[in-house]
């Protein structure tokens, strides 16, 4: 048996395959739910209503989609250029930490919101960039594989956050609990609904996704970064400056991951703790791949992942089954989805 790439993947398959994947994932998860003694059919209904069925569910789903779009984009732009940035998690944290840190500077916190908010977002993006430029520098200078360094730096970043929020950035009003000083109210992103967490980060993330898509598809930089990823030797022959292009890619990727952290802290939590991210950075990688590295598809993939998680999480509470089922369902659907996307592109031959 072997697989042969389809010259022209059919449209029907491209749509049908992911649907089959979701169904299969739900079927598998249903089995696990049944083992826990609950009714899978009821569980399916609860997943749907949990994610969409109420104002709360909908707003929570979209709130969770927001950072996932940005980390998904971070991975997508890096992977396009074959820059294996597994460090979005750490970049997310540094980006988040940069916001209160920036606001601690003298005079900054007295700025009005319309000025302060963009500055804070930028601070987050820059922090993320810096954390990715370091491993990139090691790769360019010493040839150190960035898969490993970015992975390890995630731990360093979280420990650094921990160091800061127990040290110089510790919130004196937080009763000694390790958390950063809060972001000033002026820098908090406006809420989109009252009595819910949904915030202006969502439209921002959507706009960023469109912008990234446009840059990737239309700009010289986008073309060069793709060339570097697909065939670095040929790119060099065509005069694409490898180092500079990768640096730019790293700035964009790290910047997006950092931005995700900044948006999360400015939109949802207002201060930084070491459990700010439930693996947003790692999930971003899978989301990027589900989206086939297409920035617009990242939106859909992020939404999908959020729906699965919020729905399954709420279902687990409603049915009193272990809440870990939410992560199981998301992971299952990611795996089946990967296979489905593959099968839509290949045909099986004997």
């Amino acid at each position: 048996m072997r697989f042969e790439r389809r010259a022209h993947p059919s449209r029907a398959l491209t749509i049908l395959a992911p649907i089959c994947a979701i169904l299969l994932a739900l079927l598998l998860a249903g089995g696990l739910i049944a083992i826990a003694g609950a009714n899978p059919l009821k569980a399916y209904r609860l997943i749907l209503t949990g994610a969409f069925g109420s104002r709360l569910g909908l707003s929570e789903t979209l709130t969770r989609t927001t950072p996932l779009i940005l980390t998904g984009l971070a991975a997508a732009v890096a992977f396009r250029a074959r820059l294996w940035n597994i460090g979005a998690e750490g970049q997310f944290y540094l980006g988040a930490l940069a916001v209160p840190a920036f606001c601690m500077l003298p005079l900054v916190s007295s700025l009005p919101g319309p000025i302060l908010i963009p500055l804070c977002l930028m601070a987050g993006a820059v922090a993320g960039m810096v954390l990715l430029l370091l491993p990139l520098g090691l790769r360019l200078k010493f040839g150190v594989d960035e898969v490993v360094t970015t992975l390890l730096l995630n731990f360093v970043a979280v420990l650094f956050v921990s160091l800061m929020i127990e040290g110089p950035m510790k919130d004196p009003m937080a009763f000694g609990w390790p958390q950063s000083v809060p972001v000033p109210d002026a820098a908090i992103l406006p809420k989109l609904m009252d009595r819910a967490r949904l915030h202006a980060g969502l439209p921002l993330a959507l706009a960023v996704a469109v912008a990234v898509w446009w840059v990737q598809a239309r700009s010289v930089f986008g073309m060069r970064s793709r060339a570097v990823g697909l065939n670095p030797r040929a790119a060099a022959f065509a005069g694409v400056p490898l180092g500079r292009t990768l640096v730019a890619v790293a700035c964009l990727s790290g910047g997006l991951a950092g931005l995700a952290g900044a948006v999360e802290v400015m939109g949802v939590k207002a201060y930084v703790t070491t459990d700010l991210s439930p693996n947003y950075g790692y999930s971003g990688i899978v989301i990027a791949m589900l989206a086939n590295l297409n920035p617009l598809a990242v939106i859909a993939a992020a939404l999908f992942s959020a729906v699965m998680f919020v729905g399954a999480d709420s279902m687990s509470r409603a049915l009193s089954i272990p809440s870990y089922i939410a992560d199981v369902t998301v992971a299952l659907s990611l795996l089946t989805m990967l296979v489905a996307i593959f099968l839509a592109q290949y045909r099986i031959r004997r």
Binding site: P182, K269, D275, P278, V310, D313, R317
Partner: protein, 299 residues
């Protein structure tokens, strides 16, 4: 009898974590007695915590028990959005509104008593404490232990390690072993895992929050127990009775009110040490002695 009250628990850690297990056990106990109808979520990260609160509130729970340490601000926002639901949260902050009550984990008195035993028992003159993260409640506990030791043995050395996380028993164990290597012969295990090190090296250990003696029969000879049931019952009565829950329930953690106490194995500590400790214990219960409260990070 009346039908059970709907109560939800939201645990940031898995319910194995000692602190959560105290809440969880109390809640399960009440559930089995038919007092409450208990559902829970565990391992809920900071990001998901407010959603869990909202969902349980919308599901009609009368009382929601949990911990708002990592989400103080958001938890209070949620409570204000759901005024008809009562919240009882482990918190280092103040109560808020009519429906957001808080409690602290104050078993430092029991730790002080355990420290008195340890101070008299140590042969090397060195004891150790393994803690999670230096937050006030943990500091207070470890300081309480250290003060107890110093009270009977002013020359004793007290080693402190923090493992940087709330739940990593093997790490706590390694930290304990490191302290033993540095001369400690009694360990105070603010974190689970510490006693494993003591057991392995054949020295004694002291537990915190729950009774570790059955688990380490020859190792853990004393425990600084903390009891949640008094807190739960009081808050439940308030919530059902329509009284505002928005107050501080911490005093119910005091030894005076049966919220914490020492549990120890007879015949391990020298009798005179036990006698001296029992005197202090009685004094605390009678309100005649106050164990110093020190929230600063132990040096």
């Amino acid at each position: 009898a009346q039908s059970p009250v709907k109560v939800a628990g939201i645990h940031a850690s898995p319910v194995e974590n000692a602190w959560n297990s105290v809440l969880h056990a109390a809640l399960l106990g009440a559930h089995e007695e038919g007092v409450i109808d208990y559902t829970f979520s565990e391992g809920v990260s900071g990001t998901d915590y407010p959603r869990a609160m909202r969902e349980y509130a919308e599901a009609g729970n009368v009382l929601i028990v949990g911990e708002s340490y990592a989400v103080e601000r958001e938890a209070r926002t949620v409570a204000s959005d759901y005024p008809d639901t009562a919240f009882l949260m482990g918190s280092s902050g103040e109560a808020a509104g009519d429906n957001f009550g808080v409690f602290g984990t104050w078993n430092w008195e029991a730790a002080y008593l355990a420290g008195m035993l340890a101070g008299e028992m140590t042969e090397t003159g060195t004891v150790g404490s393994v803690g999670a993260i230096p937050i006030p409640e943990v500091n207070m506990l470890i300081n309480g232990f250290a003060d107890g030791v110093k009270a009977v043995n002013p020359d004793a050395t007290h080693l402190v390690s923090f493992i940087g996380t709330f739940f990593d028993p093997p790490k706590a164990r390694e930290a304990g072993l490191a302290q033993i290597d540095s001369g400690a012969d009694i360990l105070f295990g603010e974190r689970i895992g510490t006693a494993d090190a003591a057991q392995e090296r054949g020295i004694k250990a002291i537990g915190s929050l729950i009774n570790y003696t059955p688990r380490y029969p020859d190792t853990v000879f004393a425990n600084a127990m903390w009891y949640f049931r008094p807190l739960l019952d009081t808050a439940l009565t308030d919530a059902v009775g329509g009284n505002p829950v928005g107050k501080t329930y911490t005093p119910l953690s005091l030894m005076e009110d049966g919220g914490n106490d020492i549990v120890f194995v007879e015949g391990v500590a020298p009798p005179e040490a036990v006698t001296r400790m029992e005197e202090v214990r009685a004094a605390i219960k009678a309100g005649e002695f106050e164990v110093p409260r020190n929230f600063d990070e132990p040096a």
